[in-house]
Symmetry: C2
Subunit: 181 residues, 2 copies
């Protein structure tokens, strides 16, 4: 397989770090792949945009930081403005329609998805926004099965919350389905 390098970005509290950790765990525990997941914080992190990196591969991964992601997700305008240039040519750039106005020219497939709005309309709980995003990503990229994500969630969250997480994951998959590669 080709190594998949992803960067999820947004603001603190949107759960982008949690989403990458869930994805990495699903890859390793249930898809028999290797994964490295990292956060790099510096002076710029104090400004606002959070970034979380994950690399997934069937071979060993030496250097954990993503230089040019195949998949870049931006959940805020700040994150988009700061990171849009790093997308790998021909890569997949996913933004949320509610939060991001995409004015930049990039050599990538741009997918503007109403993830936040759909979560609010259908589920009403902003806390699962990140899981909806994860659903959209795994549907478009087809690397990790939704069942693998659900197994990780079952180990991490109280049973009462599993149902809205499943709903959010499915909602994201529906949004991504149109753009399945």
């Amino acid at each position: 397989m080709e190594r998949c390098r992803m960067v999820f970005s947004g603001s603190g509290g949107q759960g982008v770090i949690t989403a990458t950790i869930i994805l990495a765990e699903a890859a390793v525990l249930y898809e028999n792949l290797n994964a490295v997941q990292s956060q790099s914080y510096g002076a710029e992190a104090r400004g606002g945009a959070t970034r979380s990196d994950v690399i997934i591969s069937d071979s060993m991964i030496d250097f954990p930081k993503v230089i040019q992601p195949n998949v870049l997700v931006c959940l805020t305008q700040d994150a988009y403005n700061k990171f849009y240039q790093i997308i790998r040519p021909g890569g997949l750039l996913v933004t949320d329609t509610r939060y991001v106005n995409t004015q930049k020219k990039v050599d990538a497939q741009q997918r503007e998805l109403p993830m936040f709005q759909s979560v609010m309309d259908k589920i009403g709980k902003p806390i699962v926004f990140n899981i909806c995003m994860l659903g959209a990503v795994i549907e478009m990229v087809d690397l990790i099965a939704p069942e693998a994500i659900m197994k990780v969630l079952q180990n991490r969250i109280p049973p009462d919350f599993l149902d809205i997480n499943r709903q959010a994951l499915d909602l994201g998959r529906e949004l991504g389905m149109e753009f399945k590669k």
Copy 2:
């Protein structure tokens, strides 16, 4: 300052990843330092021991993976058996007395602390074991103020849970105080 490289290890569910993320955020947001935090998962991760790395520095950090930590925390026997050799000579090796029987010879300051037992005796909630560990580490290493950790926790957890987290942090600090450098 000297760059501080730490590895927290244990089993899934003990919260070692969360603890490193909290520490990294505290360093960056409230201590004006830089931090890189990462998890590297491979075939061995499927065996059991989880490892989470964090590097804290006042200068730029290029390579995010810790090779030889100054501080190594092991919260299970598996984690100890797997990682004890990586401690930097003269470093600090922290283990939990309930979970780890330290039989290996290492060139390090070994601190066996009754963290889990103290949390169960004084607070009764195993979920804050990782915060107690963090309290012990910041007391012994003196790099991040407890108030910085509390500020991160205030942003991350519901107000109802803040009090037991504060208790766990203070409990850890008491256990670490004896070994303050």
